[in-house]
Each structure stands twice: as structure tokens, then as C-alpha cells.
């Protein structure tokens, strides 16, 4: 057994809300119901619950996954919360597959539900922030990405219009995505991007992700079991890798480089494809420049050539490298434990993306970025390659 002996057999997703009008467990129940209806499996068949640890609402409860299992009436042999920040969604797929391979469960329910706008219990007080960045007024992720952007600019130069191009492409995708947050479904231009107000200069408002509420979920099982059950539209994870604390044992590093260099090579290697074979790209997007840095780290282009690569390619759903076709988090809203780009990739490979359906569904590359470390870029990087059965 290995990663690729497993399948994602169904996905479900609520609309992204500026602020949820329902409790996080109501959203979780909606996801469970939709997945049961879609697959025809009985609730009693679910014996694995895998939840993303990236939750504001559940952050203060050390028993979050168990409590959720209880609330939903699930009896499971594998009850797990995955704590790699924004890599958690992709990380859940790998861990569910590992648990199925190992025999800890046979049918896994991957749940990404969060209402961190309605109720946020996140507490960063036991971290470097309290001594080393809070006293200087460095504003969390936007401040960190402000430092990262200026450094990139000093090393390589940076045409902000090209970051604007990515912002516009993602926004156009959100306009085609009925599940995207309504507040964000307004067209923008590159000039709108450039003139949006500065938050942590050079980070502008339209660089930033907006926190929102919502839920999503997946059902996974072995390919053999999926076949036995007659489930037809299956998506196979064929390569996964993650890296936490890249160069964490060094004191001074090039902040324009990240763990994606390593996990990209590993995941693509396991998948047996080259970067030039990637049919659609679904990079984690908390800030627009993170997308460009990933284009470089994964090897779409060389370090420092991201701007030129963006200039030369069309990232729209019908372009030569479709990118975050659901709008990404920046234009759909940072909801559902940052699972949006993963769920969109699954939807595309199942051929269910409607007006924004990509033509080439041979594969999809999904990534994660998790946590902000001191004076670098991010704490965790992940890469997941998916193909249709």
C-alpha cells in the first residue's frame, strides 16, 4: 500500500461567508450530510475523522477532534487533528492515506470547518511574538510579508504590476465561483491593486487574504474499496511532501527561498512528473507575492525570474497555466481551514467546475504554507499532486 492506493471520492463545500450565521458544528453537519448523500455511504462506515488544526474557533479546545466526533455521532478508529498551519488541508490527505494504509481506518472523513470571524480563540501569546515582534508593532503576517517583499525587491527587483496581474486573475476566478465570499466578488483592475491602501508597505490591501467563515470536507478510502462501492469519480493523491522549519538550524538565510524547493521536488518525484507537466496550479495564497515565490521555488522559473514568468503566462482557467481557479483564498476568502484551493483542485479534476472548468485535467498541484516564523518567510511548506483515476 502507498499514497497512490488511496482515493478522494467526494468533496463538499459551503459558501464562504464574511461572518458565519451558523455555528461551526452546524456547518460541519452540513458537510457530513452532503458527503453522505454524494457517496451513498452510511455514516457507520466512516471510521476516521481527520481535521485541520488550523482553526480559530477550536483553537482553545485540546479535545477539538474528539468533541467534534461526539457532536456528529461518529465512532472512529483514527481521530486526528493535523497541525501544520496552512499546510493542514493537504496534510490531512496524506495522513488519512497513511492511516488507511496502516489499517487504522478504512473510510476517512476529512473535515475543514472554522468560524474564526464569528468566534476566534487563537492565542499567539506563547510565541516569539511577545518579546521580539509585538514590542515593535510588527503586524503579524502582513508585517512579515512586508519585510519579505522589500528583501525580494532589493535582491531581484519587483514589478508590482505583475503581482497585480495575479490579483486580477484570481479575482476574475472568484467572479465565476458562486461559493466565493460575496463581498469579494467585485471586479478589480491592476490599477485598483496598485492604488489599494498600504497596510505594511509594500504590502497593500489587495495583497492580503481576508479571513472568512465556512466549511469543506472530503471522503477518502482505498481505491480498491472505492471500486467495490462503484464510486466512479475518484481523485488519486500520487505525490505529497512537506517541510517544516526550512533551514531552521541556520542563523541567517536567503528569505526568498523556502521549503517548497524540497517538498516540490519530492512530491513531483513521487508523482513521476516534471514541473512542466503540471496542468493546473493551486498554490497557497495568503499574500500575492507568496504565489510568485512558489512559482520560483517549485521550478516553474528560476529564483528572481518570477515577474518575467508572470508576464509571459496566462493564469486564467482557460490560460496556459490555470492558477487558483476558484479565486484562491485572496479572492474567495480565507475560510474552511484554508482548504479552498485543495477542494477547487479536486472539483476541477472531477470536471465539475462549470463556467471555470479547466481543459487539461491530467493533474493538479496543490500547495500549503503554514505559520509565520521570525524574520524569514513561513514555517511549513507542502506540496500535493493529484490525478483523476
Amino acid at each position: 500500500m502507498s499514497l497512490r492506493d488511496n482515493a478522494i471520492v467526494a468533496y463538499a463545500e459551503t459558501k464562504v461567508m464574511e461572518k458565519s450565521d451558523r455555528d461551526v458544528w452546524v456547518l460541519s453537519g452540513e458537510i457530513l450530510e452532503e458527503l453522505l448523500d454524494k457517496t451513498g455511504i452510511d455514516k457507520s462506515e466512516i471510521d476516521g475523522l481527520v481535521m485541520a488544526g488550523l482553526t480559530g474557533t477550536g483553537a482553545a479546545n485540546p479535545f477539538w477532534a474528539q468533541t467534534t466526533a461526539d457532536v456528529l455521532g461518529l465512532e472512529v478508529g483514527f481521530c486526528e487533528q493535523v497541525h501544520v498551519g496552512g499546510c493542514s488541508a493537504a496534510g490531512c490527505v496524506a495522513r488519512a492515506a497513511a492511516a488507511i494504509d496502516y489499517g487504522m481506518c478504512e473510510v476517512a472523513f476529512l473535515l475543514f470547518a472554522d468560524t474564526h470571524v464569528l468566534e476566534d480563540r487563537t492565542d499567539h501569546s506563547h510565541s516569539y511574538r511577545r518579546e521580539w515582534t509585538d514590542p515593535y508593532g510588527l503586524m503579524g503576517p502582513p508585517g512579515a510579508f512586508g519585510l519579505l517583499s522589500r528583501r525580494y525587491e532589493a535582491q531581484y527587483g519587483l514589478d508590482y504590476r505583475m503581482l497585480g496581474k495575479l490579483a486580477v486573475t484570481q479575482r476574475n476566478h472568484a467572479l465565476l465561483n458562486e461559493n466565493a465570499c460575496e463581498k469579494l466578488r467585485v471586479p478589480i483592475t491592476i490599477d485598483d491593486y496598485l492604488s489599494s491602501r498600504m497596510i505594511a508597505e509594500p504590502i497593500r490591501l489587495l495583497d492580503c487574504v481576508m479571513r472568512a467563515d465556512g466549511a469543506a470536507g472530503l471522503i477518502m478510502m482505498s481505491r480498491r474499496r472505492a471500486k467495490e462501492k462503484g464510486l466512479a469519480k475518484n481523485i488519486i493523491p500520487i505525490g505529497y511532501a512537506e517541510r517544516t522549519n526550512f533551514k531552521g538550524g541556520e542563523n541567517l538565510v536567503d528569505v526568498t527561498r523556502s521549503g517548497h524547493e524540497i517538498c516540490g521536488q519530492k512530491a513531483l518525484g513521487a508523482a513521476g512528473i516534471g514541473i512542466e507537466d503540471v496542468a493546473s496550479f493551486h498554490p497557497y495564497d495568503d499574500f500575492i507575492i507568496a504565489i510568485m515565490l512558489q512559482l520560483e521555488a517549485f521550478g516553474f522559473c528560476k529564483p528572481g525570474e518570477g515577474v518575467q514568468f508572470i508576464r509571459d503566462h496566462d493564469f486564467s482557467y482557460n490560460g496556459d497555466l490555470p492558477l487558483n481557479t476558484g479565486g484562491g483564498q485572496i479572492s474567495a476568502g480565507q475560510a474552511a481551514c484554508s482548504s479552498h484551493n485543495l477542494v477547487e483542485a479536486v472539483r476541477q479534476l472531477m470536471g465539475e467546475a462549470g463556467k471555470r472548468q479547466v481543459k487539461n485535467t491530467r493533474n493538479a498541484l496543490v500547495t500549503g504554507i503554514g505559520w509565520i516564523n521570525y524574520g524569514r518567510n513561513w514555517g511549513s511548506s507542502a506540496a500535493l499532486v493529484l490525478v483523476p483515476e
Binding site: L138, G146, L147, A154, E201, I203, N251, G375
Partner: protein, 145 residues
């Protein structure tokens, strides 16, 4: 005309220390920058950790006083501050590569937006706090060659 950056000196800071950082804070009482040094690898590390990030061992750590001069590695101008800093924007947060090879994030004072750039030479600026310690900041080192 030079664009003013707020020095943030009016912001009241009450900082909760980790116990393994105390030697750093003790040093600031005498305006001394004291950071961690790994005696096995001969490298410095910042921020303070309970172990050497190079060897993983507690016993390899010692604390050494360093000059606090360096060059700006990167910077950001904050236009939307954290709750405590609301109303004092815009202000600069810089990441500075100290001479001993670590990056230190802090505020920059006595500097205009025009003057601030990657590569700018800076030196310490010590801001007194109510508990007798000082907050380490930077200011342009205009006398530097």
C-alpha cells in the same frame, strides 16, 4: 520634503519575558546588547532559545555582548499598526543583519522614509522601559564609513 516616520517612542510597552531570555533583558538594563552564542559552532543566534539551534544542546549556549551595529536587511513601513500602535502610523520596522551574522527585527528612529533603504548602516538606539530594562531599536549610523 522628507516624509516623517513616527518614532513610536510614545507607545507604552509591557513585555512578558520567557525565562530563558532573561540574560538578554538583564543586559539591556545597562544598554548592553547580549545575545546567544554557540561555543561549539562559533555562531550567534537570535531570538534567544533554550538550546543551541546548531547543536540542539543547552550546554553549548553562552551569552556574549555584541556591538549592535549592522545593515538593514529589509524594512516595512507600517500604515495599519497593531492595537497598541494605532494612531502612531506610519512607523518603520526593520530587519537588520548585525555584524555577528544574525537578523534582528526592531523599530528604526531618527530616520526619514527617503533615507531608509536596504543596506543602510545602523547603530543601536536604547529606549527606556518602565521596568528598568531598555528596548533595543536602531537609528541611522551616519558616521559610518
Amino acid at each position: 520634503m522628507a516624509k516623517a516616520l513616527n518614532d513610536t517612542l510614545g507607545v507604552k510597552r509591557a513585555i512578558k519575558h520567557f525565562d530563558f531570555s532573561e540574560p538578554y533583558w538583564e543586559g539591556t538594563r545597562q544598554k548592553k546588547l547580549v545575545i546567544q552564542y554557540c561555543r561549539v559552532t562559533g555562531k550567534y543566534q537570535h531570538f534567544p532559545r533554550p538550546v543551541s539551534i546548531f547543536t540542539g544542546r543547552r550546554r553549548d549556549i553562552e551569552w556574549r555582548e555584541v556591538s549592535g551595529t549592522g545593515v538593514v536587511f529589509s524594512y516595512t513601513i507600517t500604515h495599519r499598526g497593531t492595537a497598541l500602535f494605532r494612531g502612531v502610523e506610519p512607523y518603520a520596522v526593520v530587519s537588520v543583519t548585525l555584524e555577528v551574522g544574525v537578523n534582528f527585527i526592531a523599530n528604526l528612529v531618527n530616520c526619514t522614509a527617503e533615507e531608509l533603504k536596504v543596506g543602510l548602516k545602523v547603530k543601536p538606539y536604547w529606549h527606556p522601559l518602565e521596568d528598568g530594562t531598555h528596548l533595543f531599536m536602531f537609528q541611522p549610523d551616519r558616521g559610518a564609513a
